[in-house]
Symmetry: C3
Subunit: 315 residues, 3 copies
C-alpha cells in the first residue's frame, strides 16, 4: 500500500481490517518499525479524534510526530495552477508539499470541503496535490469527499460486534444545524461494498448522496421500515449533494431510543462529534445500544494498521 | 494515587514533596517508567509554564505527549446535562473524555473559571466531568478553583529554601488590572495545612477568600504587620470571592523592596506570570530576595513526581 | 559554539557547512547525542519550514521537542525595561526566558521585525534578551535582521551544486506585495564573506540594504548585467532599509525564465515561501533551473549540524 487516501488504495480491505483488530489485541509488537521516522499531520481544519488517534498510532510504532495547523502555524496555501499570487495565499502547494515530504516520512492531511461548489469539492484537489507533488505516502485524515480512516474503523467495529455472519447494517441520515460534508457516508458506502453486510441507506427525500457511491445500494426512504431488524444503526448527518451544501430540514429524523426499539437490539454507531438531542437523543446515546466510544477507540488501531502498512511498503 | 486534582487526592503530601525534591537531584532515574505511555495535555486556556514543564516531566519519564488546545485545535465542548446542542458546542464531554482516555494514559486538563457565577465555578464541573466520564488518571493543570501542581511546587520550594524548622510564611494579596482566579491562593492554603508553617494571610478588606479554605488560617489585614519577621512572602493577586469576580482596587498593596526590608530577609515567591510594577516592583523582583525563577523551575520536578506516582499506581 | 544567533557565533563557518553536508549523507549517526534533551521552539511568528525542519533535526539527534506559539498558546511578553505592565503584556522576558531554559536544553526563537522602527528592529532585542536572560544555547529561527539557519542552508546548497571553484552568485531583489524583512539578504551577505564566491548584489535604486552588510559587496543596479554569466541566482524580496519598511514598486524585477537565459545555466534559489508570478514566474520555478525544493530540504541538515554543535559544546 503506497498511499491511504481511499479504499481504492487498499489491496485487500478485509486484510487491513483484520490487521487493525490484531493490533488492538497487541498494540506494542512493532515499536521499532517507525524508528527514525516522522509522521507529519497537516490540518487545514479542526480535529480531535483524528489528531490524537493518529499521533498515538504513530507513537505506538516508534515514530515521531510533527503537527502543522496550516493557517494558525504558517500561512494560506495556493492550489490553483498558474495564478498570480498577489492576494491571500503566500505559498504554492507545488513548493509546500515536496518540502513537507523532505522533513516527514508519511504525511497525513485533513481538508474539508467548502460545500459551495460541488464540482470543486468532488475534484479532491488537496489530496491530489499531495499525491502529485509529494514523494512520500499520503494518509487522508478526511478530505472533501472521503474519510477512509473513519470507514476502516467502522468496518472493524462492525466485525468486532457482529453477532451473525451477515448483519443488517442501516446508515440513517440525521438532522444537524450546520451543513456538513458527505465524506463519512460516502466512504462508508465505498467500504461496505467489500463487506458481507446487508446494507440499507435511509434518508429524507432530497438528501440523496452521489450516485458514484450509492450505485447498487439498497435505499429505503421510510426510516422506520429501514430500522426494522437492524443489527447496526449508523447515524450521520450530511448536507444535500444535489442541492449542494444545503441543510436538510427534517428534525423528526433524529435517532431516539424509541426508534432503536424497532431494531434487533441494534448497536448504535456514530463517528463523533455528535450533537446530543439534535442528531441522536440522550436516551439513545446513554443506552446499552451505544458503542460510539468503543468505535472512536478503534480509530487508534485503524490508524496504526494503516501506518504499519505504509511503513512496511516504504521500507 | 489515582488522580491528582487536589491535595485530597494525595495520600501523603509531604511524601510527594520529598519525591519531587529527590527527582530534582536525579531527574533521569526513571526514563523507562512511561515507555509506551502517552500524556494528553488538554488546554481550555493559555499556558506557558504548565504546558512546558508538564511536557518535559513526561519526557523525562519516557512518555510521549499529545497537546490539545481545545478551541483552536478542535471545537467547543458541552458540559451541561440534557441540553439540546443546537448552538455553539459541537461535542459533549460525555463523549470527548472517554475518547481522550482511549488515546492517552494520563490526561492533564486546564480550565479557568468564568469569574461570573461563583456557584458554577466552585462546582468544578470540568474536573469532575473528566474524573466521572474518563477511566484514566486526571491531572489538574489549574481548574476553576484549585492549582495543586503549583502548590506542590510552592511547598517543595519552601522546604528547599527554609532556614529554620518552622518558617513564617506570608501570603500577601497584590493588585492586578484584570480579574484573576482564586485558585493559586486556595490551593496554597489547602496544602499549607499539611506543612510545618507559621502561616499568615494578608489582604485588603473585601478580598477575603472562601471560608472553605481560610478556616483556621491566621489572617492579618495590616500588610506591614503581616510582613514583620516573614521568612517567605508569597505574592498573589486574586479577584473578590464575596463580590464575585470583582477586581480589588488597592494599588498600595504592590509588593516592593521597601516592604521586604520589614521581613526576616524573606524569600519572595510568585507563581508567574507576574506583571512587573503592578503586582511586584522591579526593585523587589530584581533583588536577592526573589526566588521566582527557581520556584518556576521546580514546576518540572513537581509534575514529574506526580506523573511518577500516577504511572506507578496504574501499572 | 555556544549559541547560533549569527555567523559571528560560528568559529568556522566552512566547517559547519561541511558538517551539514556530512549529516545529509548519513543523518542517523548521532541518534543518542540528544538523549534526555529537549529542544524548545518558541514562535512569535508563523513558520512552516523552520518549524518542521528544526523539529525533525532535533528528532534525528534523539531530542524531544516542545513548541510554543507565544501568542496563541500563552500570552504577550514584555521586552521593555522598567515599564509598569498595566496593558497588553502579561509576563516579562526577564522571567519567561530563564523559565524556558529551565525546561529546555536548547531554545530556538523566531521573532520578525515590526518594519516600522529601523533602530528598534536593528537592535535585535528579542535575540539579545534570550541570550542575556537565559542560560541555555539560543538558536535564531529568524530574528528581526538575521536568518542564519537559512544562510547556512544556502551556503551548503551552493557548495553542493557548484560546478567550479569560484561560482558567480547573484542575489537579486524581487517584487512583493507586502513589506518583508531584510533578514535573509543580510545574513546571506554576512555568510558569503566566508565563501569563495564571486558575489553580485542587484536591486532597484532605493532598495539598498544596510551598509553594515553591503560593505565590500559588488553592487550592480542593472539586473540584466548582474545576471550575465551567473552560476547561481538567489532571488529575494526585501522592503526598503533607508525608507524603512516601504515596499519597492518594481514589478519588472520579477525573475523569469527569459532572464535565466542570460545566465550560465544558473541554478535558481529562493528561501521560500515564494509568491509565484509575483516574485518568480511559473516558467522559471517549473524549469530545470530551480533548486528551491532541494534548498529547502537542506534546512533540515543545516539545523541538525547546528544542534549537533550546540549539544557537543554543552556536554
Amino acid at each position: 500500500m503506497k498511499h491511504f487516501t481511499s479504499v481504492t488504495d487498499v489491496p485487500t480491505p478485509m486484510g487491513l481490517i483484520q490487521k487493525a483488530s490484531a493490533i488492538k489485541n497487541d498494540p506494542f509488537t512493532n515499536t521499532e518499525l517507525g524508528k527514525n521516522k516522522v509522521m507529519g499531520l497537516v490540518f487545514f481544519n479542526a480535529s480531535l479524534r483524528t489528531r490524537m488517534s493518529t499521533a498515538r498510532a504513530a507513537y505506538n510504532l516508534g515514530m515521531k510526530v510533527i503537527t502543522l495547523n496550516v493557517t494558525a502555524d504558517s500561512w494560506q496555501l495556493e492550489f490553483e495552477d498558474g495564478v498570480r499570487m498577489d492576494a491571500g495565499t503566500a505559498e504554492h502547494i507545488k513548493e509546500a508539499v515536496p518540502v513537507l515530504c523532505a522533513y516527514c516520512d508519511i504525511i497525513g492531511v485533513r481538508s474539508f470541503p467548502g460545500l459551495v461548489n460541488q464540482k470543486e469539492d468532488y475534484a479532491e484537489r488537496v489530496i491530489h496535490a499531495f499525491k502529485d507533488f509529494g514523494n512520500c505516502p499520503i494518509v487522508n485524515l478526511e478530505s472533501t469527499t472521503l474519510h477512509p480512516l473513519q470507514s476502516l474503523t467502522d468496518m472493524m467495529t462492525i466485525e468486532e460486534y457482529k453477532q451473525n455472519a451477515c448483519p443488517k447494517v442501516v446508515i440513517s441520515w440525521a438532522p444537524h444545524i450546520k451543513p456538513l460534508p458527505q465524506a463519512v457516508a460516502n466512504s462508508f458506502l465505498q467500504w461496505s461494498s467489500h463487506m458481507d453486510f446487508d446494507l440499507t441507506l435511509t434518508h429524507p427525500k432530497g438528501m440523496e448522496l452521489s450516485e458514484e457511491f450509492t450505485a447498487g445500494v439498497h435505499i429505503e426512504q421510510d426510516q422506520s421500515k429501514a430500522l426494522e431488524g437492524a443489527d447496526f444503526v449508523y447515524v450521520k448527518n450530511w448536507s444535500s449533494f444535489n442541492n449542494y451544501g444545503k441543510i436538510g430540514e427534517a428534525p423528526e429524523w433524529e435517532l431516539t431510543k424509541d426508534k432503536l426499539q424497532m431494531t434487533n437490539h441494534a448497536k448504535l454507531m456514530h463517528c463523533l462529534p455528535v450533537r446530543r438531542n439534535v442528531v441522536i437523543s440522550d436516551d439513545a446515546l446513554n443506552s446499552e445500544h451505544s458503542i460510539v466510544v468503543s468505535q472512536a477507540e478503534n480509530r487508534l488501531y485503524a490508524a496504526q494498521a494503516v501506518l504499519t502498512e505504509l511503513l512496511n511498503f516504504s521500507v
